[in-house]
Symmetry: C2
Subunit: 422 residues, 2 copies
Amino acid sequence: MTEYNRLSAGERRSKAAEVEARLEGFREEKLDLDMTRGKPGSDQLELSNGLLAAVDAKGWKTPSGVDSRNYGGLDGIEESRKLFGDYLGIAASEVIVGGNSSLALMHDTIAQLMTHGSSTLAKPWWGSNPAFLCPVPGYDRHFTILERYGIRMVSVATRESGPDMDEVERLAAADPTIRGLWCVPRYSNPTGYTFSDETVERLACMKTAAPDFRILWDDAYAVHHLGSGPAKLASILAACRKAGNPERPLIFGSTSKISFPGGGVAFSGGSEKSCAWARERLFVQTIGPDKVNILRHVLYFKDIAGILAHMEKHARILQPKFAAVDRILTRELSGTGIATWTRPQGGYFTSLDTSDGLASTAVKLAAGLGVKVTPAGSTFPHKKDPRDRNIRIAPTFPGLAALEKATEVLAVCIQRAALAGS
Amino acid sequence: MTEYNRLSAGERRSKAAEVEARLEGFREEKLDLDMTRGKPGSDQLELSNGLLAAVDAKGWKTPSGVDSRNYGGLDGIEESRKLFGDYLGIAASEVIVGGNSSLALMHDTIAQLMTHGSSTLAKPWWGSNPAFLCPVPGYDRHFTILERYGIRMVSVATRESGPDMDEVERLAAADPTIRGLWCVPRYSNPTGYTFSDETVERLACMKTAAPDFRILWDDAYAVHHLGSGPAKLASILAACRKAGNPERPLIFGSTSKISFPGGGVAFSGGSEKSCAWARERLFVQTIGPDKVNILRHVLYFKDIAGILAHMEKHARILQPKFAAVDRILTRELSGTGIATWTRPQGGYFTSLDTSDGLASTAVKLAAGLGVKVTPAGSTFPHKKDPRDRNIRIAPTFPGLAALEKATEVLAVCIQRAALAGS
């Protein structure tokens, strides 16, 4: 296709007329399509139905002999710490298993840092004007938690190798109110990029003005690949330990997109000292997690090989959906110069950047045609994309035909936004 | 038996010798018994094994058609709000279902009051020197949460009708830093007492100097009776609504001691405005609770009649245990004037008061003989019983023979403590 900014006035008018006609066609279809949420499709959920029967009236005892039905086990059952330790690439002693929502674990971490400080410095962050580095575009729910606690958000650009590390190092070293960084290091939300070894190394080694700088390492898509197996990611915990900053990383994960979002298991990881600090407060906060459901996951997946084999099945469902998004975006937008997008090898999103200033117009147009896309701006702190260009596409939930239609509508809406005034 | 303080010197010496001989006998038995935790026995857990199969590969849809396996449903599934609303005697619209631990819900409530204030006054309690009224003896885990957030605890005596309301009203009206009261209104931990209608009414109507006074109403044992059906308890929500203080009560409950402590469902209740306030923050805090497990409970228990019928089975197991404790305490301590105890009609504990100053000595003696009892003082703020007299007995977990032995040992240890120096 011709770049839009090389079109003659006549070509622009003719293109605009063609786009209008297509929009009118979509309007007549009375569409009702949803691409907003990083949500598994029903066919993906079917893959884990066996989990529902994994613990029965005779099978409630853990392999090591604990009655999963009764009280006890503040950090999950022993076998689950091994399983999810293997999953995160850390030792069982560096894992705490709890609840069904890693977002809840992350929220709790921020809340506790605010009210009680960290394992390095037992002094509340409250009242100290704390700030976090936020690679953008990023995950809206991370930003919302920071916002709720009045933690300032300092945006840092994202490269294919991870956050702009020159900028991260400069800011962390200069400003003691910068207390941490939040990231999705593998198949990042929404770009799909994975941190390079150099990025991990620099995050582990960098000097920070804050004595208890924390990296909230949301490894949400650790095994959620589409192509040739999970992307390699260097161990942040090993790198930080080696660099003499063992308490720096706080790692999170869950089975929400492995088993069930509405019935999975979440877990966190960190140094043994971090875990001891967490266990101490967990004793005050809860009677402990649902051990029966944790046991279901241990018995159903058995080991990390079991999880990886299971993820192949998810990949087979998801790969065609991501391919369809790319195929349609290529057909509609390649060469136009008005949009670029990522081609993720894993995770749950495709990230699309329009020319500056087009995103919110395009998303609104699509909504008017019955195609819901995550609101423009959502991937930035306070929901404000300074260049109004990023759109997060979530291809997983709709069926293939609906997804293709929704992507086409969005792409034509982007064309329409670019041609506005023609 | 003769009152100990009427014994002659000779009688005391002979009694002391007899007690020593019995202690020596216990020592030779090398006991290892545990009466510390309000924990169901294995036979009680067996009652709910059917729950494990309540959701299977074909049954994951809620009655109203929601896929329990996927994202969504921040406050549980519709049918669960109805079920636990009936359980708490409030409307479904006044219920939020979430997680497996009511202690976690209560902790979160306190944490959020500290950092964000209440539905009545959106101003953090942080830095305002807040205090709570604590009826004593009470539940140690309530006190530990207050302690963690630096909330001062003001003890109030407990009567059979509930807290000393003259004192509660006086303190709440006089001091604006007193922001709330924590209680277990039915079959209270540890006394087993249930609040009278007058107590509920006065709690609802009383003037408080704090504009957003909160009653944390931990209805942990709402249906956990031993005798002739659950004790009646007036509705704190209805009373507060009528008194013009609808936001005052925050109600909590769980199925920990109905189904499984390690795999149950917790819920909270309050006015619709309170619930709206909570849902707003829950959206930031979590992706939502485990809907599959909530659905299990809905399908297994069906309705409040199903829960009540199920509780009859628990009662049949527990009643003989509580009776045994009372029988042995009566045999060993009645008429001695050195101990009184409660005869609960429900709940999980018997509360025993020794003569002043004996409790910690008796508990330590018992521990030395292999009988673990909750540490003396645990039922008071900061674990300090000013009169060193209260002992919490938890009869539910040990088998009947073990329980009888443990109670006997404890009773003889109390005798020993009372005779010390003879």
